[in-house]
């Protein structure tokens, strides 16, 4: 409140100064509300749940809170001049004689953070609007739970992106993992959803171990976990971190493990396709647009650390390139359109890692940005189809949507998404993908040329599988079969439920965003010597600056030049004698057209030929493996089960038996049974009859009296039986004396 008054008074005092500058000049702590608003939304959703609200109130609350976050982000972006830290409160402060561990709850605002925040909060808001209609069949049941989950996710994601230290990133990292688990398992009555949620959580744990270890090593090497201080330490040592010894070589690989887990790369990608069990808005928001790009954000954020190891970035490039190809081959042979999009996401994330690996953080960031829009719109259209056709997602059972009443918006926004994903010339995906592909030829590195050609081939596969979906589902003759989630409708007379206003509005907005995402490539930037338009400017003052074309790499990371192996811009590579950037415009356009052409042939004009080809391949012994293994996802899940799950299961069974029979059986219950056995001998005495107690009491008294009366005689008797005993005599003496 006081801040608001201060801002207002300044505004009145200086009417000529733009609002943004005044906001900037006063205090930036209001930026904390970007983080707090999703938390407010979570609390309000919790209250809705507590009061059993049976309306769409949770959706309205969430949309308003997220929209506030988005607007605040826009203001912050508008007023941005240079990187700065906004301190919210002290979080962890441990100091001792010669060191400290400081992790404040502070926001680090640089252009990279803003780029990420723009699409995280923007798409978050839009997808919440979409979900308000999509989830309406659950109003009063899981509706509140869903929006609470979305709020948790946005809170964790803003912490992850905006935090000024690695510990806050870790908080957000775990938070988004938890939110992902929460929302994948939304339909907790479905065993498949529960299994998928567990799988996502457990596979992500593997990566999280890497992140935790990396943060520890970074702290022990640099003495801090704050980004700006790490950069300061690196700069003061002229980027020669040899003082860290082996740790500087371990850190990048541990960070990579974390990034590959969260961003679903080989070999940890297996959770992402299964995560499609969650509601579609979740798939669009978390598993396509935002959360899965956290791995790319992590690497961009710690880019200077990756420069410290000679083979770190080439490893990223190879993993990314191979994942892109591998996932695309699986995506080609799936029939579930949502699953195709999942594999496509993995493949596109692979492109982004390839971009990071070949030192074009600019290209990777741009692809993250465009991909967020076009993949969101693809998932949301899949969701609208699934919603309208009672859960039908099989592309063989849907056809000709664009000719059906009420499905035009879905069909054409999907077409926009497909064009961008396929890299159709002059769409956003075309420019962002080219930036990565060209750089694979520009940058000299181990096998980067090969990766470049592989990525170009994958671009063709991408165009093919993308348009396979669109031609099958949206084009061709009208035909559909409803899925199995009929909610009481008769399958014979089933009528698809066309999406209404909220879904159509969001689809059009995001599709427009996907088209407009091409503009940043043309918007000229004001920074000198910088190529690549607005996005390049957006990230050039972040740690990722080494990957921005036109920047003086040597000034930021001189040792890269010294290494020589992954130096950027020094020996400029080429494709077939042409400049890679120019050549790539033609090559990727041609490859995209070829892919679309194949899809056109097999899935629109001669649909039966696809099946003929498949059965021909299956008939021959030599080629049978190809379609079967592609349809079975190269048996990766089965390999995981055989190599990891089964041995662990056997081990677990062994330990459970060990626990059951040795620990519980022999030790715990064994010892416990001793007093019980002893008690069983005496328990007949307690028969509950008062008279029998009286008898034993009186009998005992009588016995004592008799003993006292006849003690000398008894002792005498014993003595006569055992004359050698001398002790008996003493007993007689003592008893005699006592009497």
């Amino acid at each position: 409140m006081i801040e608001a008054i201060a801002i207002l008074s300044k505004l009145i005092a200086m009417p000529a100064v733009p609002t943004a500058e005044v906001l900037h000049a006063v205090d930036l702590s209001w930026a904390g509300f970007i983080v707090w608003m999703p938390l407010v939304s979570l609390v309000l959703c919790g209250l809705c749940a507590a009061f059993k609200v049976k309306t769409k109130a949770p959706a309205i609350i969430t949309v308003i809170c997220l929209a506030t976050s988005f607007i605040l982000t826009l203001i912050l972006w508008n007023s941005y001049t240079q990187p700065q830290t906004i301190h919210l409160f002290d979080w962890l402060q441990v100091h001792w004689e010669d060191g400290s561990f400081v992790a404040n709850f502070a926001l680090y605002i640089d252009s990279l953070t803003l780029l990420w925040m723009l699409f995280v909060t923007g798409l978050g808001t839009l997808i919440a609007v979409y979900a308000s209609e999509y989830m309406e069949h659950d109003v009063g049941k899981g509706y509140t739970r869903f929006f609470a989950g979305v709020s948790v996710f946005l809170f964790a994601m803003t912490c992850l992106v905006m935090g000024d230290n690695l510990l806050m990133l870790y908080l957000g990292w775990e938070g988004v993992g938890f939110a992902s688990y929460w929302l994948i398992g939304y339909f907790y009555q479905k065993p498949a959803a529960v299994a998928a949620a567990k799988k996502a959580f457990i596979v992500n744990r593997i990566g999280d171990v890497g992140l935790a270890l990396a943060i520890y090593l970074i702290w022990s090497t640099f003495g801090t976990v704050q980004y700006d201080e790490i950069t300061t330490v690196l700069q003061s040592n002229s980027y020669d971190a040899s003082f860290g010894g082996w740790t500087v070589h371990a850190i990048p690989y541990l960070l990579m493990l974390a990034a590959f887990g969260k961003s679903a790369q080989l070999p940890l990608y297996v959770w992402l396709p299964d995560a499609m069990e969650g509601p579609t808005p979740v798939s669009a928001l978390i598993h396509a647009a935002t959360m899965v790009t956290a791995g790319i954000y992590l690497i961009i954020r710690t880019y200077p650390l990756f420069m410290l190891d000679e083979y770190a970035l080439p490893t990223v490039a190879w993993v990314g390139g191979l994942t892109a190809f591998f996932a695309a081959t699986i995506g080609m042979a799936q029939y579930d359109i949502k699953r195709i999009m999942a594999y496509s996401t993995i493949s596109q994330l692979g492109y982004m890692f390839l971009g990071l690996g070949v030192i074009t953080s600019y290209g990777a960031a741009y692809h993250v940005f465009t991909h967020a829009f076009f993949k969101a719109v693809l998932f949301l259209t899949c969701g609208a189809i699934m919603h309208g056709f009672a859960g039908q997602l099989d592309l063989r059972r849907l056809s000709g949507l664009r000719k059906m009443k009420g499905w035009k918006i879905v069909s054409y926004t999907m077409l926009v998404g497909c064009l961008c994903l396929a890299g159709f010339p002059f769409t956003s995906g075309y420019f962002s993908k080219d930036a990565i592909l060209a750089e694979a030829f520009v940058t000299q590195g181990p096998g980067f040329q090969f990766l470049g050609w592989l990525a170009i081939f994958t671009a063709g596969l991408t165009a093919y599988y993308t348009f396979r979906v669109w031609f099958r589902v949206c084009a061709g003759p009208v035909h559909f079969e409803p899925g199995d989630e009929l909610h009481g409708d008769d399958p014979a007379t089933f009528k698809p439920h066309a999406p209404r206003f909220a879904i159509n509005f969001v689809l059009i907005t995001i599709a427009l965003g996907a088209l407009l995402a091409a503009l940043p490539y043309f918007v000229p930037n004001e920074t000198e010597h910088l190529h690549g338009g607005w996005i390049a400017e957006m990230i050039h003052d972040s740690p990722a600056t080494a990957g921005v074309p036109g920047n003086n790499v040597a000034a930021h990371a001189p040792h890269v030049e010294a290494h020589g192996t992954i130096a950027h811009d020094l020996p400029h590579g080429d494709i077939l004698g042409m400049d890679p950037h120019k050549a790539m415009y033609y090559i990727s356009a041609v490859v995209g057209f070829i892919g679309i052409g194949f899809a056109l042939f097999f899935h629109l004009f001669f649909r039966s030929s696809a099946d003929k080809l498949r059965s021909k391949l299956l008939a021959s012994r030599a080629t049978r493996w190809l379609p079967t293994s592609m349809e079975n996802k190269w048996y990766v899940d089965e390999i995981y089960i055989a190599l990891i799950r089964s041995p662990l299961w056997v081990l677990g069974k062994f330990f459970s038996l060990f626990d059951k029979y040795l620990i519980d059986g022999a030790l715990v219950n064994g010892i416990a049974s001793l007093p019980r056995t002893a008690a069983r001998w005496f328990s007949p005495l307690h028969n509950g009859s008062l008279q029998s107690y009286a008898i034993s009491m009186i009998g005992g008294a009588v016995l004592i009296v008799l003993l006292m009366l006849f003690m000398p005689e008894i002792v005498e008797l014993m003595q006569s039986l055992n004359p050698q005993s001398t002790n008996a005599e003493q007993v007689v003496v003592t008893i005699g004396e006592a009497q």
């Binding site: 028969n687 008062l690 009286a694």
Partner: protein, 106 residues
């Protein structure tokens, strides 16, 4: 002047005392009614008390009488408590048969 009495007279007192004790014990063992059992314990008390008084007088020792005062005190307190218990038990089960309250075993 306090005089002792002859051993033969003591024997008579002790016989009465022993009889009271025995009657008490037998009564306690054979009867089921809680009030009767309680009265039998009183009989046993009195048997013991008579023995104390008689032996005390025989030995010209006041300890016997002191003991009897204690016994009477304890008996009075115990009577108050036991009768209250008996009333409560009767309210619970409408019977005073001692076996009816056997569920306290174990």
């Amino acid at each position: 002047m306090i005089l002792s009495f002859a051993p033969s007279a003591l024997a008579g007192y002790l016989v009465v005392s022993g009889l009271l004790l025995t009657i008490g014990i037998i009564g306690f063992l054979v009867r089921r009614n809680l009030i009767v059992m309680f009265l039998c314990t009183e009989l046993m008390f009195q048997g013991a008390a008579i023995a104390f008084v008689a032996v005390g007088r025989y030995l010209l020792d006041y300890s016997g009488q002191v003991m009897v005062i204690f016994i009477l005190t304890v008996a009075a307190a115990e009577a108050a408590l036991a009768l209250a218990l008996v009333v409560l038990l009767h309210r619970q089960k409408d019977t005073l048969d001692a076996d009816a309250y056997g569920e306290l075993k174990e």
